[in-house]
Amino acid sequence: MKGNVIKYQRDNIDTDVILPGPYLKIHDYNELAKHAMEGLDKDFHSKVKEGDFIVTGRNFGCGSSREHAPIALAYSGIKAVLAVSFARIFYRNAVDGAFLLPIEIDESTYNSISDKDSLEIDTEKNEIKNLTKNQTYKMKPFSELIGKIIAAGGLFNYKL
């Protein structure tokens, strides 16, 4: 999986900025995408490209349980969020709904990756290649169940 980085150098990006409250009444996924990251980055919608990755710090997706948050990012074209850590509901929403990959990286990897870098993610090898900087990083492997749900294409496709 290859894509370019949109980097937010900060911790605790909450679901209220990923998809602000007034849009919670909307359930048209493409319409939600127009408002992704609106509380933090008004240019997000115009700059995001299909296949991009977000790279950010600790506790991404904290706050409300709104599945609108991973939906808005996914329908904007984001394929993975690489963060130092994730808030729990965002993480499971991303996986169980098969919207995007939540990938945990360590602090040094987070600091090494810059905005607009081109990355290649290999979830088999748990490796991230930075094609711009010619570096390779480790990603935290998915736990057994999470890996199986991702492989199945979401919780509804996962057979108990």
């Binding site: 409250g21 009444k25 349980s65 709904g97």
Partner: protein, 423 residues
């Protein structure tokens, strides 16, 4: 095992469980509201398009529905969502649908205890992050997204990783000017907004035994703001009495073993706690109310599952009785039953004499939906739970989080005010 491990072990048919085990657990109760409900309906539509036949739910009697975020309907889209939700509950035979304008209704987390929708020892999931609230009754209560709720509606089970438990022990009774809100803000300030990420926060000690059920609910409610999976308190006689008043006496309580394990134990002395405020833009950004006494406010908001229970309104009335508010102040009781009690007990008269506007139960401006959202640069003090950028309105508005006592005292002076300093 501790109480959380024992509830999840019982619900997954295991004799023993440890933190980090991943299990599918059987769910006892599931809740959705006017935001997560239409989200779940959208998931159902997606599944049907893929060829899945959905004719009935796993058990409609275990499902209940609230209307809270955008009610009374804020605009055409939210009105349509209420219709969608009503059609859904009718189609699938969900009888416990609390509809606004038809008797009891209110914020889902408030109904969960006011209406005894969830009982000690149960596994309860809801399509809302503050589902943690109901853990104060001695249940495992956790918030989930639309896909997960849809999965529970069809299968009656969901996966959980067994959480580590952080234990918060409160020694002594809270002083009169300090509320549970001050205690939980202090904790979040100490451990941070991801200090309990993926974990359970359990509260205990003689200070918790002394605390009323409604105040305990404020603690578990805001475990969400520390990133917790759930918050929980072992059930005691106060919980049994609270449920008995609501006609419920039969349930299967769970208590932790004598040798229950906790990842970490934190101890607090009630006598050392102070009226505490979370400054913009994070619940962990705390200060003592007295240190913010020069902060000028535009608005005071008393509402939400966190800060509009009956005792919250009583605390506000204690301050507002015989006084006038100096800034725009609104009070939105969290459920019709609370609204009615406030009327019967004379609280509404105190509020209206003080100049406050009293509105219907709704999540309202707490989540920036409607009913008093903030303008650019407006500064609000609020009994709610979050103050992220844009949470209550314009992204350049500011929200300070505080207890009902502090919010009411601040409404009187127009500046952040410790209730002890009110003349």
């Amino acid at each position: 095992m501790n109480i959380t491990e024992k509830i999840l072990a019982r619900a997954s048919g295991k004799t023993s469980l440890s933190p980090d085990d991943v299990v599918f657990v059987n769910v006892d109760k599931v809740m959705m509201h006017d935001v997560s409900g239409p989200g779940v309906i959208a998931v159902f539509e997606k599944l049907k398009k893929k060829g899945m036949k959905i004719e009935k739910l796993w058990d409609a009697s275990k499902v209940w529905v609230a209307e809270d975020h955008f009610v009374p309907s804020a605009d055409k889209i939210s009105a349509q969502n209420i219709v969608l939700l009503s059609d859904f509950t009718k189609q699938f035979g969900i009888s416990k649908h609390f509809k606004y304008g038809m008797g009891q209704y209110g914020i889902c987390h408030t109904l969960s205890h006011e209406e005894a929708m969830v009982l000690p020892g149960e596994v309860y999931v809801g399509g809302d992050s503050h589902t943690n609230t109901t853990g104060a009754l001695g249940a495992f209560a956790a918030g989930l997204g639309h896909t997960d709720i849809a999965y529970v509606l069809l299968n009656g089970k969901i996966w959980f990783k067994i959480p580590e438990t952080l234990y918060f022990k409160l020694n002594g009774k809270l002083p009169n000017h300090v509320m549970a809100k001050d205690f939980i803000l202090k904790i979040i300030g100490d451990i941070g907004t991801d200090g309990a990420a993926y974990k359970t926060m359990q509260f205990g000690g003689d200070g918790i035994s002394e605390m009323s059920v409604e105040e305990r609910l404020t603690l578990t409610n805001m475990t969400t703001e520390a990133g917790a999976k759930s918050g929980i308190i072992e059930p005691d006689q106060k919980i049994r009495d609270y449920l008995a008043v609501r006609g419920v006496t039969k349930y299967d309580e769970v208590h932790g073993d004598a040798d229950a394990q906790y990842e970490k134990i934190y101890e607090y002395e009630a006598s050392e706690l102070e009226p505490t405020v979370a400054k913009p833009f994070s619940p962990e950004n705390i200060a003592e109310a007295r240190d913010l006494s020069t902060t000028v406010l535009d608005k005071a908001y008393i509402g939400s599952c966190t800060g509009a229970k009956y005792e919250d309104l009583q605390a506000v009335a204690r301050i507002l009785k015989g006084r006038q508010v100096k800034i725009r102040t609104e009070i939105l009781p969290a459920a019709i039953s609370i609204f009615r009690k406030a009327m019967d007990e004379g609280l509404l008269k105190i509020f209206m004499d003080a100049g406050v506007v009293v509105g219907p139960p709704t999540c309202g401006a707490c989540c920036g939906a409607h009913m008093g959202v903030l303008a650019k640069d407006e500064v609000c003090i609020s009994t709610t739970n979050r103050n992220f950028p844009g949470r209550m309105g314009h992204v350049e508005s500011k929200t300070y989080l505080a207890s009902p006592l502090v919010v009411a005292a601040s409404a009187v002076t127009g500046k952040i005010t410790d209730p002890r300093d009110l003349k």
